[in-house]
Symmetry: C3
Subunit: 273 residues, 3 copies
């Protein structure tokens, strides 16, 4: 079932005309790529980490992105201060639980942040989203594709309900849900997996879409599709050149991707779990 | 009025033969781009942040660049230690007040640094330079172009006099002043605004020019023009490809830009306020 | 004397099939380039710095890379915790003493780490490797090429014996030794010197080779040669374009370089000191 009514391609134009300020408290690996990706798309990135200023910066912003990729205890504190300020001022918060299942510390810090800050959107891969609510239970083995997807929908659901957020569980296909309705986005390109920070940048891009789109479920579906379409355009451009060239072309295409590209190339369907 | 006597194109050659060591204490977003830009230009970048070593590193260097883009309190302390060491050893200090007006904390920290360290050059956009001395007073509105420029010259002037530094107020056009003489540089390209850290890298590049040019006003005018010329050459190279390709080409052109390019392409004029 | 028996080109294939997890505690300048280089090569990078989680992350990994490029005291503490965990779990540790001779603090911290953690591989330039054991004694002057090389072999030797590690002293040519046998690798390209972090990334790449190759001396010789071959292929690709384009092409070629390229292009010889 095609669900193009969930795509609001005009959000792309609104990002470019409104240039929303996106405050990122993110990991040390992806700072430059995140800022360049947001700039290319048409948004205005800012990074600020000091406890003394994050509340002020979050208040000024149109979205706040919290990414735990290279956590330190003082950064967690800053994230909570910034998140509470965003909550007070109606600024949507996007949360990216990078590697949350890999160490107990990350899970503990992620849960601490989520217990103190109301987030609008959570984006992560299947393991991260499932890990957040303790519901890993992923079916293992190569013959278990169907059961695996079924389990993932339930896990995304549980995460969305638990944190009252739109969840984007991204991977080969991207599942987006608010806990009751579910969409599958089938855009993107495998080369995106060969560039560090493409998941993190997507979270920040969802900040930009959420900043200009009051319907967060629609903003996230649209943002995920637009990002995947830019990836497809970049792969067309660079072909077999390799991941270095693809990274460059992807930034180019975040700049060039249009509402028309999105309307013609987005592949979105509703999922009935 | 043309002012090519303020361009000393030979400084480019001196950077390449002397390879001055530029010590950067900069924000976490632009570290790699700054180092790659300085390397491409022919200088030697070093980054060092620990309180225990910044005095030693600043002493070894030919210029010190302090950039407050992602301040933390312990980094401010390191900046002051490094700055005092640079002052003691005659190493020029370049200060970049990134986003100084956006939060009270940034302004307070910037003023603290400037009260303890003598800086040779301050580079920022109009809002940042004006904010440093509390003289925002920018004329608002689309019909106020002339008054606005007039106000900016006064603000740059006040900043230069207040901190006894050469001020580079950069934007669509770049205004450079030591508080009494004023130059306007009209090089550069709009695509520079689509790559994160091009302002920050310019501050570090001014470190390289100041390291090899005893006349700091001339070194800054020349550095700003050379940087803009490299941007124009890069835009010629990449045309409509987009900001990812431009970033790559800009690093290429920082490597290739010559004294002859600078002599033929620099657009500098004296301003009578 | 040709020593191709020291090249195990199949290690490249093993990295791509096993995708070893490489835990990097590295400097803030090279994080993205390191992660992108490891991804391009086929390995799985992870960065984690918090004291609370580095022991867990190092245990999960197939190699741990410690790089002191932008040291802070709390990072040193995290490095030691991670290193001890790696030692307990048989995970090889690669150490990169960036700029160790430039300040007393760096030397002290490097020695502290090496006194508490057993490292399998140390990679640095001639000054860094020599500095680690206090044996600088490099012959100065342009006419002293032969004595200089002789001195360097002795210094690499002393470092390898002192820390019971394979030492890769890299530069125009790369010297690799376990303290008794010595190999010279003559691959690479001068453009590698114009991109920041190519030394740091090599250290992380040696982590990937060490992760899949039980014979660490052979793994390091092979990794250094493969890295140099990728550099040569990238330089062929970009020619005179400049360091920005070279950086992109180098990431592409880390993805494309094959066991056959390595077998036909590696230049390795045994050295009799």
């Amino acid at each position: 079932m095609s669900c193009m009514e969930m795509i609001d391609a005009d959000l792309l134009n609104r990002i470019r005309s409104q240039k929303p300020l996106i405050h990122n408290i993110t990991n040390v690996v992806v700072t430059a790529f995140t800022a360049n990706g947001l700039l290319a798309l048409g948004a205005s990135p800012v990074m600020a980490y000091a406890k003394e200023e994050v509340a002020d910066m979050a208040k000024l912003s149109q979205a706040l992105v919290l990414n735990i990729g290279t956590l330190q205890t003082d950064v967690v504190e800053a994230m909570i201060i910034a998140g509470k300020s965003a909550n007070r001022h109606g600024v949507p918060v996007i949360f990216d639980p990078v590697g949350v299942g890999s160490t107990p510390y990350r899970l503990e810090m992620a849960q601490k942040i989520l217990s103190e800050v109301n987030v609008s959107v959570i984006r992560g891969n299947a393991g991260e989203i499932s890990g957040l609510t303790g519901q890993t239970g992923l079916t293992k083995g190569v013959d278990a594709q169907e059961e695996e997807t079924a389990g993932l929908v339930e896990n995304a659901d549980a995460c969305a309900k638990s944190f009252k957020a739109v969840v984007a569980m991204t991977g080969k296909e991207d599942l987006i849900t608010d806990g009751s309705t579910h969409y599958l986005v089938q855009n993107g390109h495998p080369l995106l997996m060969k560039v560090t920070g493409t998941g993190c940048l997507l979270s920040s891009v969802l900040g930009a879409f959420t900043a200009v789109g009051a319907n967060h479920l629609q903003a996230v579906v649209t943002g995920v599709a637009a990002y995947g379409v830019a990836g497809e355009l970049a792969a067309e451009e660079t072909g077999e050149k390799g991941p270095g060239s693809f990274q460059t072309a992807f930034l180019d295409q975040l700049h060039w991707v249009t509402d028309k590209d999105l309307q013609s190339m987005a592949r979105v369907q509703k999922v009935n779990p």
